[in-house]
């Protein structure tokens, strides 16, 4: 990728209590791309997203969006710059109504002025959420909660959405639905960073991919090349 990437990560390090979760990860995302980061449990995928979002501090390296370093910024600043995340385990607010969950996502400055329209488009995307707008989010099914988490991210009018294992805990059929949603968001112009354990499906969806092992990128390239790479096939695809 050229250096005018939308999101440019260089040598990013994250440490928890002295042990390293990320050891100098570098990656690039161009505007409008859909890329994936795959790896096993504990490879550092979630740490990568949380660090980009400013939830955990980085211990080294830089994260730049449109050339601006955000690695020392608080989470709300990063959200205001157009980076949204759909967290692992969805993290919806169970004791709030579906609509209140969405409204919180839309309370950023960048999204507030147009919130009613955005809400409407989220309801168009997920009709089920409109039906259940006044229901407590905690009473939704797993798939509906995942829709809500995605809808909440869309409410912030993001440039980039980071998905942390959107397929986790979902049936294979629902997983396909979720990946379809990810794909269609990308087709609407939202840049996507997809973090997944489901290597085959996410490589099929994305244009490029990074393979994370023990906090480092061990392989990266076009998704097609990665799918044909014998190491990837052996380690992740069971071939």
């Amino acid at each position: 990728m050229p250096d005018d990437a939308l999101l440019a990560i260089d040598d990013l390090c994250v440490a928890y209590d002295g042990s390293n979760a990320l050891n100098g990860v570098s990656l690039r995302i161009g505007k409008g791309e859909l890329i994936c980061v795959v790896g096993a449990n504990g490879a550092g995928k979630t740490s990568l997203i949380r660090s980009i979002a400013g939830i955990v501090p980085s211990s080294g390296g830089s994260v730049r969006i449109n050339g601006v370093d955000i690695s020392r910024r608080p989470p709300w600043d990063i959200c205001e710059m157009g980076i949204a995340q759909v967290a692992e385990g969805r993290q919806i607010f169970g004791a709030l109504s579906v609509e209140d969950n969405l409204l919180i996502g839309g309370s950023l400055k960048r999204a507030r002025h147009d919130r009613a329209n955005t809400l409407d488009s989220v309801y168009q995307l997920f009709g089920r959420l409109r039906e259940r707008r006044d229901q407590l989010a905690g009473t939704l099914s797993g798939g509906e909660q995942q829709m809500l988490a995605i809808g909440r991210a869309i409410m912030s009018r993001p440039e980039i959405v980071m998905f942390d294992e959107p397929s986790i805990g979902l049936s294979p059929a629902l997983t396909d639905v979720m990946f379809g949603v990810v794909k269609s968001l990308n087709e609407q112009g939202i840049t996507v960073l997809l973090v997944e354990q489901n290597v085959a499906k996410s490589l099929a969806l994305s244009s490029r991919g990074y393979v994370l092992e023990n906090g480092s990128v061990v392989l990266h390239g076009s998704s097609r090349d990665l799918l044909e790479n014998p190491d990837v096939q052996r380690a992740y695809l069971g071939l």
């Binding site: 949204a84 607010f93 004791a95």
Partner: protein, 343 residues
């Protein structure tokens, strides 16, 4: 946002609230002095319970030291009025500002240094106890001997907030109504859902761009300021304030018993809970005196708390609502901190 499905139950909620307070106004016009004085206390603790409820029930921050803020309000009014003849209205305002500031500093320091949850609650106790001892040793503020208001002449004076017992009953009733309506309005506002979001999941709220630190300091500060207003009026009603009574642990418990018994995070819970718990407390106190069993009232409080946590973990009000299905409960739900006790 338009929510047509909610509008019918909205009207019902506000209508029911207006009816309850109208009934209480009629009661105030008819009852004898004892009932009036007891209900005045109930209504004041409804208001203060509401301010505490805002902080835990909606904001997710536990305080067991609300006596600190109650006391600050009471002292602000008493010092200005007794020493300088300044109207309690100014005292209430000043007390609210000081308590709001103290609350904000306490919250800022705690959350800045990651003192949270039960440790923050312990800190509120420590702060209240510190203030109580400090006021006890502060001669200017009357020390342990406290401060006494002049006996009221009986004539009602709204400008100086002086009047007979019935006058204070209606002041307390107005405060309680403001507390209930205010909680309802705040919990539907932007702050309301942001606070409930951070109560539910702090990190998720931050990940969505909510400045949770700022909001936590804000909710503590607002809760402290409103509790101080209740404290200022409580001092006037009691006619005298002493550090041990107005800043004591008992006040902190009285403040939280209404919302805990009645229903955390709800607008009506503190009213229902105070109505149930405080008269019981007084009755058991009288019974204890008659039987020569001091402390019977505290035992009764403990028993009520255990029974409520055991059988009605959401509090009386939500259970009543569920039982009769009269009013649809708004999206609020239970409070994680107290659920853990039950599980």
């Amino acid at each position: 946002m338009q929510r047509t499905s909610d509008q019918a139950s909205d009207t019902k909620r506000w209508g029911a609230g207006a009816l309850v307070f109208a009934a209480l106004a009629v009661v105030g016009g008819m009852s004898n002095a004892y009932v009036i004085s007891l209900l005045t206390i109930v209504l004041l603790f409804t208001f203060m319970g509401q301010s505490w409820n805002l902080m835990l029930g909606i904001g997710g921050q536990l305080s067991i030291g609300h006596a600190l803020f109650v006391g600050i309000g009471a002292y602000a009014v008493a010092i200005l009025n007794i020493k300088y003849g300044i109207t309690p209205w100014i005292g209430l305002l000043l007390g609210a500002v000081i308590a709001g500031f103290v609350g904000a500093v306490l919250a800022w320091l705690s959350f800045r240094f990651e003192v949270r949850g039960i440790y923050f609650a312990l800190l509120t106790i420590a702060a209240a106890e510190f203030a109580r001892i400090m006021f006890g040793g502060w001669d200017y503020a009357g020390g342990m001997q406290g401060l006494f208001y002049q006996a009221p002449s009986g004539a009602m004076d709204l400008g100086m907030l002086r009047g007979d017992a019935r006058f204070y009953y209606f002041v307390a009733l107005a405060l309680a109504a403001i507390g209930v309506a205010g909680t309802e309005l705040i919990s539907r506002s932007y702050w309301g859902y942001v606070w409930r979001a951070m109560r539910d999941d702090d990190e998720a709220a931050r990940a969505l761009g909510v400045r949770t630190f700022r909001h936590k300091v804000l909710v503590v500060s607002i809760s402290a300021a409103t509790a101080a207003v209740g404290g200022g009026v409580l001092g006037l009603v009691q006619g005298a304030i002493f550090p041990d009574s107005i800043m004591g642990m008992a006040i902190s418990v009285d403040v939280l018993i209404g919302p805990v018994v009645g229903g955390l995070g709800t607008a009506f819970g503190p009213l229902v809970g105070s109505m149930a718990a405080i008269p019981l407390h007084h009755a058991m106190g009288a019974l204890g005196d008659a039987l020569g069993l001091p402390g019977l009232n505290s035992v009764a409080y403990g028993a009520v708390l255990i029974l409520v946590v055991w059988f009605l973990p959401d509090g009386i009000w939500p259970s009543m609502v569920r039982l009769y299905g009269a009013v649809q409960l708004p999206a609020r739900g239970r409070i994680p901190q107290l659920r853990k006790v039950e599980e």
